[in-house]
Symmetry: C2
Subunit: 136 residues, 2 copies
Amino acid sequence: MNYSQQRSCILNIVLSKPVHPTAEQVYNEARKKYPRISLGTVYRNLNQLSEIGALKKICSPYGSVRFDGRTDPHFHMECTVCREVFDVELPELAALEKRISDENNFTVTRCEIGLQGVCEKCRKNFSEGIDKPDGK
Amino acid sequence: MNYSQQRSCILNIVLSKPVHPTAEQVYNEARKKYPRISLGTVYRNLNQLSEIGALKKICSPYGSVRFDGRTDPHFHMECTVCREVFDVELPELAALEKRISDENNFTVTRCEIGLQGVCEKCRKNFSEGIDKPDGK
DNA sequence: CTGATAAAAGATAATCGTTATCAATTTTCT
DNA sequence: AGAAAATTGATAACGATTATCTTTTATCAG
C-alpha cells in the first residue's frame, strides 16, 4: 500500500472526530481540503484502512456503516432517536470473548457489541416535550 | 395489524428454521406455498413482525440482514468463511446490560452482540485442505 | 350474509449505500 | 528522470431494501 494525500486526509478525519462518521460524512469533510475527491475514493480508502486495522467498521441494522478511529477494545450504543453512536467501555470483555471462544469452538476474530436504546438527551426531550405520551 | 395468510406463513418460516434466514431465503421458502407472493411483501412483513417483537433482526457488516425467531436473550457468531450464523448463550447478559444502562444513562432497548470468526468446520477444512497456508 | 372500510398483497419502479471499472494522474523506486 | 505500480476521479453497475399504486383480502356493523 502506497502513501497518498487523500488516504492520509481520510484517516486523519476519522481519527480526529469524536463521533463515528459515515462514509458520506467523511466525504463531505474531505472535500473541504480536496474539492475534487470522489466518493469512491473515500469508500475505497475507508475499507483499506479498516482492513489493515487503522480503523474499525461499525455496523447497525439502520442506516450506513460507520467508522471509528479508536481501535482499542470498546463498544457502541446507538440512540434510536437521534441515531448518534456513543462509546461504551467494557473491561471484562477479554474474558468474555475467551469463554465464548472456548465453549463454542469458534475462533473469534472480532467482537462487536451493539446496543440500542435512547440516550440521555433524547429521553429528556421526550419527557419535557410531551406531557402524556401514548405509552405504546 | 390484521391477520393475513402470507404474514402467518412468513412468521412460521422464520420460527421453524434453525438457521437465521435472509429476506431472500424466506421469500424462496414462502413461494413454495404462495407462488405469487412478492419480495416486497416478504420485506414488509419481516419488518412489521420485528417491530412488534415477534422476531429479531440481526445485522452484519457483510451481506444482508438476517431474521431470528428466537426472541429470548442470546447472541450470534458469524463465520467469516462460510457466512453461517450460530447462536451463543450468554446468561450473564442481563447484569451486563443493566450495568451499561446505569453507567451511561442510556435506556437499553436492544443489545446485539455480534461475534465474527471462524467456525469449527471451516477451520477443519482449512487445516486439512491446505498443507502450508500462506499465513497472511 | 352483505356491503362498506381498512389493511394487505402483488407488481414494479425508485432509492440508497456501496462496489466495480477504467483512463488519467500520482507515487515509488531505480 | 523515467519506468512500473498504485491511486485517483468519474461514472456505471449492483444488490438490498423501500416506496408507490392498483387490486385483492380481511374485518366488522347492520
